[in-house]
């Protein structure tokens, strides 16, 4: 910001200003504590022993650090009677999220390109037609999907969930890419067409090199949504085929005599870790792309 830019925060008496800033920081720090509390609590709980936890509340510092919950949750913890730890479910989620994210992002890029740079009669209608799925609660398609996955022979499998997420993510990926590609000047495309470039050549040579900002957004969006998704996961898989969210719910919501809060805390952290890591390393690019494109249209 240059010196000439008007700063509305630097108005009024200076005493007042200092006081206001103090209030602003106090409130923000209070919110930060409230927002961090759940994370702090699960991290601390995961290294406390059960005896210690049952002597007080979950909100306390560990008297002695004990990592046994971590080894237990990974390889011997029980999820609804299956006691091979949370690892198999974690791998299920990885096997689900990686192909589903790649495929749906590719579909989004191609759709967005076709809808903005090769407008045809009815292309706006096609966009609106696909977009409706964004708002639709999944309960409305749950039953027919169960039937379809059964018919295709991919019920209770990772391939089934990949298919599902590619189809159900259509609206979002198309929306993001379309809004972004609208900002690429059409003259670029026209020039390339005059030079004889076709649909795919222009996509490869012009659109893709300009796409990384939006592809980051779509990849992060799809990754977090598919990783965190629960309804389809719990409906269409069972036993060792469950993704991590369904397994975590089966673990933490089960009725038990003695809830192992330390083990479950470790499970909670493992389930949250991949998306948190992505958020902390690439979140900046995500917000930049999101606030630039998606709010319009």
């Amino acid at each position: 910001m240059s010196d000439e830019t008007f700063d509305h925060t630097k108005v009024g008496k200076s005493k007042n200003r200092v006081f206001i800033r103090l209030v602003v920081y106090t409130i923000l720090i209070a919110f930060v504590i409230l927002y961090l509390l759940p994370i702090i609590v699960v991290v601390l709980t995961s290294v406390r022993s059960l005896d210690e936890i049952y002597n007080g509340s979950l909100i306390a510092f560990p008297a002695k650090i004990d990592f046994s919950a971590w080894t237990k949750v990974w390889s011997t913890g029980c999820v609804g009677g299956n006691c091979k730890g949370i690892a198999p479910y974690f791998y299920n989620s990885l096997e689900l999220v990686i192909p589903a994210t790649i495929i749906s992002t590719a579909i989004g890029a191609i759709n967005g390109y076709a809808l903005t740079k090769w407008k045809f009669r009815g292309s706006e209608f096609v966009f609106a037609f696909i977009l409706f799925g964004v708002f639709l609660p999944n309960q409305l398609v749950l039953l027919p999907w169960a039937w379809t996955l059964g018919k295709l022979g991919i019920a209770n499998s990772t391939i089934g969930l990949v298919t599902l997420h590619c189809v159900c993510g259509l609206g979002f990926v198309t929306l993001f890419c379309r809004n972004y590609f609208l900002s690429i000047p059409d003259t670029l495309i026209k020039a390339a067409r005059i030079d004889g470039a076709g649909f795919w050549t222009i996509f490869r040579r012009i659109i893709l090199p300009l796409s990384p900002p939006i592809l980051v957004v779509v990849v992060i969006w799809q990754f977090t949504h598919i990783w965190n998704e629960y309804l389809f996961a719990t409906t269409f898989t069972s036993g060792y085929n469950k993704p991590i969210t369904a397994a975590l719910m089966a673990m933490t919501a089960s009725q038990t005599e003695l809830r192992e809060y330390n083990v479950e805390s470790a499970a909670v952290i493992i389930a949250a870790l991949p998306t948190l890591l992505i958020y902390f390393f690439a979140g900046r690019f995500f917000m930049r792309g999101l606030t630039a494109g998606s709010i319009k249209g």
Binding site: H8, G133, F135, P137, L140, V141, P144, F199, L248
Partner: protein
């Protein structure tokens, strides 16, 4: 008439002003190429047609049949709907949607806006604050619901902590109270979404024309008045978009409640999305579940359709000027 030109390509000569121009006859490849966009969009259109609209229609159809454990094709009219509206669980779920939806949307919007205004005061370490306030967006409702269940539970969370610290008179047990548990769901929902809303609002606040603010300042308007009369009205399109995002979030709320309260105590915090799922899969009453799902669609359209026409109205107004 088609001729071959000097390169041997088939085509016709056309008059263009003074000159004659050779127009090559389009080859099959050219024709295919010109339909490429439609060809590329076809699978997506088909997928939406079949897997979205077709499936919704099928659910709609099921709601008029006698389906129980398995889909049946006996049409029985509105029987499922009358059963649905006679079901006290559905009534609680339907009411909860309005209680939760209203409070969640209002509080998330206000907290988000409030945080955005605080963040707009040229504070230090802005990106630090923003990252912390936004991270709940990245994690699953199953995760946050589980942790908040522990923290709000009187035996393991805040109440127990206060007792351990010697404040024995402290009571906070809303999550196990039939009439208050829904507010804990509101709290967890607001906690999860307000950072996201804050970021959207902050981008809006930053885009307001600073000359307007300057002019108001010179006229001696106090800072709260400037926000209330100038800045907030000029971000109203963002406010509207945020409201739409939040309302459809509220309607889809499912795993947050499952993880936080499992719809309980009893069925006190059941929501339409939970009701539909439980009735379909837990109780094998497909017809009634489908009827509930159709009611969810009605709720969705009840605000989506006006929003759509409002946007079209804005667009039409914009193009007139």
């Amino acid at each position: 008439m088609d001729f071959k030109n000097n390169t041997g390509r088939l085509g016709s000569y056309e008059r263009m002003g003074e000159r004659e121009v050779f127009r090559p006859k389009p080859s099959l490849k050219d024709i295919l190429q010109s339909y490429m966009p439609q060809f590329v969009m076809a699978p997506s259109v088909f997928a939406a047609l079949f897997f979205t609209y077709g499936f919704v229609l099928y659910t709609f159809y099921l709601s008029f049949t006698k389906s129980s454990m398995f889909p049946s094709h006996d049409l029985v009219g509105l029987v499922s709907y009358s059963k649905l509206w006679a079901n006290f669980r559905w009534k609680i779920s339907f009411n909860n949607f309005f209680i939760f939806g209203f409070l969640y949307v209002v509080f998330t919007t206000f907290v988000g806006l409030f945080l955005a205004i605080l963040m707009d005061q040229r504070i230090r370490a802005e990106s630090f604050f923003r990252s912390i306030l936004l991270y709940p967006m990245a994690i699953s409702f199953v995760v946050t619901g589980t942790v908040w269940r522990w923290l709000l539970n009187p035996q393991t969370g805040f109440e127990r902590m206060a007792h351990d610290w010697g404040w024995l008179g402290f009571h906070f047990d809303w999550i196990v109270k039939q009439d208050l548990a829904i507010y804990t769901v509101v709290f967890a929902g607001v906690w999860q979404a307000s950072g996201f809303v804050m970021v959207l609002f902050l981008a809006g606040l930053r885009s307001v024309d600073s000359n307007l603010i300057k002019a108001a300042q010179i006229d001696g308007a106090p800072i709260w008045m400037i926000y209330w009369r100038i800045i907030i009205p000029s971000i109203s399109p963002i406010v509207l978009a945020v409201l739409v995002i939040l309302i459809q979030n509220a309607l889809k709320t499912f795993e947050l409640v499952e993880a936080l309260t499992s719809g309980g105590p009893g069925v006190a915090t059941s929501m339409p999305a939970i009701f539909v799922f439980d009735v379909m899969y837990g109780r094998g009453q497909l017809g009634q579940g489908a009827a509930g799902a159709v009611m969810m669609l009605v709720l969705l359209l009840a605000f989506l359709v006006p929003y759509y026409f409002y946007l079209r109205f804005l667009k039409a107004k914009g193009s007139e000027q």
